[in-house]
């Protein structure tokens, strides 16, 4: 399917907007120079929040988006409370039982210690700072369980009932705090995703993929929250939303000139040399190319792609044409490191696997960790450009690769030219 000239131009414009936002994220206003130099010169930076590339100018703050500080303080308080309560429950179950109006028995002791262990685990989980949202929800669910347990375990005396009521109120209060922290943490995460240019879970990405999807989504300027963090995602980050759009980034530094690296990459026929899941890429007139991958079970996945930006020695961007098996778009940028210390190669890949069995296959193709595939490919690119080939550890590994990529001998010959 041929795209009209207008839509082709459109994607150039789209890209230029993206490129200038790469250079001008943050709120500093100055003239943007677009990568292509063809258009966009003199365009004002729009000050949008979020950037798609991890290289920052001097004087900027790099912060992987995360929780806000004040939320973290609340969460940290809850975490230590969990640890303290858990320890008390495990070490002094009887004393605590009496305090909340439950008659100590071997049964209550077991229950109390079990709850204590759970408290310790959630406390530790929160302190470890990983996925605190889910830990907070775990805590909230635990509170609900505790309340029902309390209801069944209370003694008959009036004094016991009074103590139990106070305990129930305390648990209820803690539950409210957990609920507040959990929902707040979830909202912060959503805001962060939106700021980074990803659709929120409710919002789905539809229509043909364009560079808009790779670029930060709008709205950052007006809706900028009080925190000043730049929504840079860490290197090698993988982001996915429920809409199915997957985004992978990775960077590597190669001891060759940007011009050499660009020249090798720009011949798309070379890509299977280091992208081992690719079987063949053929190029056609007008920046079009045809990509063939062979996945598990020998199933072929193919698509056509077009070049949407091409700046010799600096940058290549491509995207799949409509009706591709796997909608995808990629950018590679070649950034010379000062003082002749090689060239940074930044790759950004977006892809949207189809639903159903083909989708599962594609997921396998990109492996459980799509970021790992891109990392391995870039490492292989580095090896090919620096040493002329990818080193095999042993004969088994070589056979696996040869089985997968029948073009190896041809690639070998091509890489021989690379190193001269």
């Amino acid at each position: 399917m041929r795209k009209s000239r207008e839509s082709h131009e459109g994607s150039y414009q789209e890209f230029d907007r993206t490129a200038s936002s790469y250079e001008n994220h943050g709120s500093v206003e100055h003239d943007a120079v677009s990568h292509s130099g063809r258009r966009g010169a003199g365009r004002r930076a729009n000050g949008r929040k979020g950037t798609a590339m991890p290289d920052l100018a001097a004087g900027r703050h790099y912060r992987p988006a995360g929780l806000r500080d004040r939320d973290q303080a609340v969460n940290s308080g809850i975490a230590w409370f969990s640890v303290a309560l858990g320890m008390t429950q495990i070490l002094a179950p009887d004393a605590l039982a009496r305090l909340i109006g439950v008659r100590p028995s071997s049964n209550s002791r077991t229950t109390m210690r079990a709850i204590g262990a759970r408290e310790l685990a959630t406390g530790f989980g929160l302190l470890s700072n990983a996925k605190s949202t889910s830990w907070l929800w775990t805590r909230f669910a635990g509170n609900v369980v505790d309340l029902s347990l309390l209801g069944t375990g209370v003694g008959r005396r009036a004094d016991d009932r009074q103590r139990a009521m106070r305990a129930a109120l305390a648990v209820g209060g803690v539950a409210a705090l957990d609920l507040y922290a959990a929902s707040r943490s979830q909202r912060t995460q959503r805001e962060r995703l939106a700021a980074d240019g990803f659709a929120s879970p409710e919002e789905s990405v539809s229509g043909p993929m364009t560079y808009e999807h790779a670029a930060p989504r709008g709205g950052g300027t007006e809706a900028a929250p009080d925190n000043q963090q730049i929504g840079v995602v860490t290197d090698d980050a993988i982001e996915a939303t429920k809409s199915g759009l997957k985004k992978v980034r990775h960077a590597v530094t190669i001891n060759r000139s940007a011009q050499d690296l660009y020249a090798f990459w720009r011949r798309f026929e070379n890509l299977p040399v280091f992208m081992r899941h690719l079987e063949e890429v053929t190029t056609q007139e007008g920046g079009r190319s045809h990509w063939v991958t062979r996945g598990p079970g020998g199933v072929k996945v193919e698509w056509d792609a077009e070049i949407v930006a091409d700046v010799p020695g600096e940058l290549i961007a491509w995207q799949s044409l409509p009706h591709a098996d796997v909608r995808n778009a990629g950018t590679v940028r070649f950034v010379p490191v000062p003082a002749g210390r090689g060239t940074e190669v930044h790759v950004e890949l977006d892809y949207s696997p189809p639903a159903g069995s083909l989708g599962t296959m594609v997921a396998k193709l990109f492996r459980a960790e799509p970021g790992q595939q891109v990392r391995d490919d870039l490492q292989a690119f580095k090896s090919v450009m620096e040493t002329g080939e990818v080193l095999y550890a042993n004969i088994i590994e070589k056979q696996q690769v040869e089985q997968h990529d029948t073009r190896l001998s041809k690639s070998d010959a091509e890489t021989a030219e690379v190193r001269g």
């Binding site: 001891n255 490492q379 090896s383 620096e386 040493t387 042993n394």
Partner: protein
Amino acid sequence: MKANCWMGKNTMQIREVPDPQILNRRDAIVKITSTAICGSDLHLYHGVVPTMEKGDIIGHEFMGEVIEVGRGVSNLSVGDRVVVPFPIACGHCSACDAGLTSLCENSNPNSALAEKMMGHSACGIFGYGHLTGGFAGGQAEMTRVPFADFGPFKVPEGVTDEQALFLSDVLPTGYMGAEQCNIQPGQTVAVWGCGPVGQFAIASAYLLGASRVIAIDNVPYRLRMARERAGAITLNYDEIQDVPAALKELTGGRGPDACIDCVGMEAQGHGPMYAVDKMKMASKMQTDLPYALRQAILSCRNGGVVSIVGVYVGMVDNFPIGSIMNRSLRIVTGQTHVHRYMQPLMDLIQQGRLDPTFIITHRMSLQDAPRGYELFDKKLENCEKVVLKVS
């Protein structure tokens, strides 16, 4: 061909394995004439290095004759006699350009795994587990040498196997341990461990201008070798349990100017701290025993240098970072950048200023490698270094 294979904890076995093949254009196949058992091979033997697989061919100290070269190797010919550095290095990345060949960025096919464990990957190494690439080692009749146009060093006429063999690892490793201390004339250097690397570190420290080298170990015959062959003042930590105090006394209260750890991850020692470390290691709460390293740090003079060439693989607890920071210590360490030391050390050997053969106590055939491991490990028959003769 026959090869010495790791078959599980404390088990080596000579097995019949397929002959190596040229897999990359810059490969060569070397027919081994002499190979040695390294102290770091004992870490593999004990099963404390992660990612070992049953059947892995061990060995990273070897030399021999080139019997086949790949299309991309123009500087070697069939029949050349070479000694091969243990780090596999490409010669083209920025680490290799800087002479830091053990940090080669292209020689570890398992660099992704290494990155997960260490943050960044180092080079590939022959016969040293899969974290360093899973390459077949040199305790075999033949081995494949990748990047053969960069690594192997041609042995000059008139130099024997035994003189050249240790250029593959232990000699440059001991030398680098001393060299990176930037020793000034008149200084005192302390060396932990009197295995082969320790012996060479002592000898190198003297070559580099140290006036006194104090060696610490608990094996009498190794301490004797350090005194008689390398010229060290020796301390037995079984006799002197407070090593830092003894070193203080020997250096007028100041401490050694440089402290070199030639022991590594399986250090031995005494006392409750050592017991705690052993328990943590046994329960997998830490991967390395930092006992000797802690002593080296605490002993070193203010503003001195602590050099680590003993092998460590993972994480340790109770690391005296406060001592390092507050006392301006410098930590220098690394897997040896063997390539850059081969020519200068060969020059010293040819000039007769360095004789690396003094550490050899056992000469055996490849077939006897499992017995060699046992002798070396249990320190039987005064074993300091086992050289395996092949073919």
